[in-house]
């Protein structure tokens, strides 16, 4: 694909949410993603681009596309996935699948999943053979998504973008441990692959909020699961088979991150981290992101989350013998820094 074609496709995607016609998907080689082998180390890629915003303050679309590509390739070891980013994506998804991008828009425009990042993901998904109409960008509330800069789009052959308030929740409860909730029909009926697109943030209850807590946007009653630092609720929620079986990848938006005062946006407590964290192990990703927040807090002269009596205990719970959702032990996490 030429650079000009990429640029026009990106512009098309940018307008996708307003109803432009879809380009037909090109064929792609089928491939499937490999899940992390139990007992093996978990790989977390931290990709950083100090020039991500160029001379301005907003994220540059082409730079974040490039950053995403490098990160995804590094996750799957570039030499096994071929010379192009598409090889890595084709290890994750196959044509015919319906892919949901669960973004995070609760905090508002300043700290929502970055629109350019989402566009970049959609671009690669289509190139890997996913039809535009089979891509759903979603969160809990359509209004929150609009406030964050997303344009709603439902129906037709374009990339979909809407909240669970438009699709509804399942009638029956899904239960595990301390959690009993109705699940978004976007997860259970509209899609069969979940790509988790959280934001790197401090959280005044849980300590931090990233991959695992982003699943609170999937259920109808997240407010019930905030006591005790959201523990064990976050871990129990992520044990639900509907979530475990569909989550293929987490791409954590750390372009703008918050080191204190989350989850609502407070610009004075945020920083332009200009990074992405990518992993197939959401526990390892959260553990790595926690470290990044602690480093920034120390730099800003703040106490650790432990000292503030809100360490993210849920991360260790998610890794314990009962849950085994991933690795929280740093010695079992391979961090690849780009």
């Amino acid at each position: 694909m030429t650079a000009a074609h990429r640029a026009s496709r990106r512009e098309f995607l940018r307008h996708c949410f307003t109803g432009a016609a879809a380009l037909s998907a090109t064929s792609a080689l089928a491939a499937s993603a490999q899940q992390a082998t139990p007992g093996a180390k978990s790989r977390v890629v931290v990709a950083h681009d100090p020039q991500l915003r160029g001379a301005g303050s907003t994220v540059d679309g082409s730079r974040i596309q490039a950053l995403l590509d490098r990160a995804v390739q590094a996750l799957f070891d570039g030499d096994r996935s071929g010379d192009t980013p598409l090889g890595a994506w084709r290890r994750l998804i196959r044509p015919g699948e319906r892919v949901g991008l669960k973004v995070n828009t609760l905090g508002g425009r300043g700290i929502a999943s970055n629109l350019e990042l989402v566009l970049a993901i959609c671009e690669r998904l289509q190139q890997a053979g996913i039809k535009p109409g089979d891509i759903v960008v979603w969160d809990r509330e359509s209004a929150e998504m609009e406030h964050a800069g997303f344009k709603l789009s439902m129906g037709g052959e374009r990339v979909q973008c809407f909240g669970t308030d438009r699709a509804g929740y399942e009638e029956d409860l899904a239960s595990y441990g301390s959690v009993g909730s109705r699940l978004s029909k976007i997860l259970t009926r509209h899609t069969n692959v979940l790509i988790n697109v959280p934001v790197l943030k401090d959280h005044d209850g849980a300590g931090v909020t990233m991959a695992l807590k982003n699943m609170y946007g999937v259920i109808h009653n997240p407010n019930k699961y905030h006591p005790n630092g959201c523990d064990p609720y976050i871990a129990d929620l992520n044990m639900l088979p509907e979530i475990r079986s569909s989550m293929r990848l987490t791409i954590c938006d750390a372009t703008t991150a918050m080191y204190d005062g989350g989850p609502g946006f407070k610009p004075e407590l945020s920083w332009k981290c200009n990074s992405l964290l990518i992993s197939q192990d959401p526990v390892a990703l959260d553990r790595t992101g926690w470290q990044m927040i602690e480093r920034k807090r120390a730099e800003m002269g703040l106490k650790t989350l432990e000292a503030e009596q809100r360490p993210p205990r849920y991360i260790m719970t998610a890794a314990d013998r009962e849950h085994r959702l991933g690795n929280s032990d740093l010695s079992r996490i391979e961090t690849v820094v780009l």
């Binding site: 009653n221 006591p227 609502g264």
Partner: protein, 405 residues
């Protein structure tokens, strides 16, 4: 939902008469109609249009909450646009854009809002016995309303589809206090009942509606878990004419694991209600294997007698599998009878068995001479023999309660 109730005005006009004599056939039939198919089913909300599928059509707009959002009472502002809710013992510290545990109160830029003022998702005319209130205007009906939300998460909740939902997930009517009072009056309901979900979480709406009701000559009662802070309790439930408290167990561990609440604040609520002189009845839902020990029944009865007195009605009600406890059986009737026997032996005067239609322990007997005073079948009071001065017609013993309008 509410329009249907206004249209039923003529049909229900007989149902609200109180009697100091055996109910005539027509009044009996009206009460039976009001209790409907819910006999033996406890306080099911059965909201008119509560199915979440109502919002499931693609492209359908959700309700705007602007008309329902009113600044909350009972909270403190903190630094960094955070607030501390002072409505219930959770004292949620709520950040900007977040909600409290109840799901119906939200921090917006450092100001806390209730999202359910006038946001009625369930409305029915129920016999008062369904609450259950057995010593308050028997044979009458109550216009019963609820909003979404609850400040606990009982694993056995019968109305979890509204109590555990956020308000935007359930269709609701805009029904301001004056309208509620008017509907109650038009349907000859002497009482408005705040029930089904958890009225603590809609205290602002409850208070305003109680005021409107009293101005219109309509009383108010509340069916509640009693899990609230003292200041809010005195202000909100101070406006009630009667209160029914669900005392889930007599164990802190049960409250923590099964209810996600605490026992002590509820006991404090009961003591405060007594101090305030509010007519109060207690329901204890007996859940097999979880809160059905003799030790617990005895401890409960002893506490009630010592702190509230022997005349507080105590209802042991039958559990039916629901929500997150579908694996447990229905409470055996002998278990309920055992609980009643223990409470009777500890000296409580009015111990009932609920959700078992036709059981003799649904009747009210004089504690002195054992004369049958109120005979009930399900949610229907068949006869009321208590004199107008509230005494037993046989031995003149004073029977506590609010018996007549």
């Amino acid at each position: 939902m509410l329009c249907e109730l206004v249209a039923r005005q003529d049909e229900m006009s007989q149902a609200s008469r109180t009697v100091s004599a055996p109910l005539d056939r027509r009044s009996f039939m009206m009460c039976a109609l009001a209790s409907g198919a819910a006999l033996g089913a406890g306080e099911f909300a059965a909201p008119a249009t509560a199915s979440p599928s109502a919002l499931s059509s693609m492209g359908q707009q959700t309700q705007s909450d602007a008309q329902f959002a009113v600044e909350a009472r009972f909270y403190e502002k903190l630094a960094n646009r955070k607030i501390k809710c002072k409505l219930c013992p959770r004292e949620c510290n709520v950040g900007d854009k977040e909600r409290g545990y109840c799901g119906v109160r939200e921090n917006r830029g450092g100001v806390y809002y209730t999202l359910v003022h006038s946001r009625v998702c369930a409305a029915h005319i129920d016999p008062i016995e369904k609450k259950p209130l057995f010593h308050y205007l028997p044979g009458t009906v109550a216009f019963s309303i609820a909003t979404a939300g609850c400040n606990v998460n009982c694993k056995f909740c019968q109305n979890w589809d509204i109590s555990q939902s956020r308000p935007e997930q359930i269709p609701a009517d805009f029904a301001p206090p004056q309208r509620i009072a008017a509907i109650a009056k038009q349907n000859n309901c002497p009482t408005i009942a705040y029930t089904y979900s958890e009225p603590v979480v809609f205290s602002e709406f409850l208070m305003d509606t109680a005021d409107a009701g009293h101005q219109a000559g309509v009383r108010s009662i509340v069916v509640s878990n009693g899990y609230m802070q003292q200041d809010a309790l005195k202000q909100a439930y101070g406006k009630m004419d009667a209160v029914k408290i669900d005392l889930k167990s007599f164990s802190e561990s049960y409250y923590a694991k099964v209810v996600t609440g605490q026992l002590k604040p509820v006991l404090d609520t009961l003591v405060t209600l007594r101090t305030m002189g509010k007519w109060t009845e207690i329901v204890y839902l007996v859940v097999p294997t979880l809160n059905d020990s003799d030790t617990e029944f005895r401890g409960l009865a002893q506490w009630i007698k010592a702190n509230l007195g022997p005349d507080v009605p105590l209802h042991f009600t039958q559990f039916h599998p629901e929500y997150l406890l579908k694996n447990l059986p229905i409470t055996p009737v002998p278990t309920l009878e055992r609980a009643k026997a223990i409470a009777d032996a500890e000296g409580l005067h009015y111990v009932y068995i609920g959700n078992v239609p036709g059981h003799p322990a649904q009747n009210t007997y004089c504690p002195q001479c054992r004369k049958l005073l109120v005979e009930r079948t399900g949610f229907t009071a068949n006869s009321l023999l208590i004199r107008k001065d509230g005494t037993c017609p046989n031995c003149k013993h004073l029977i506590p309660g609010i018996w007549h309008v």
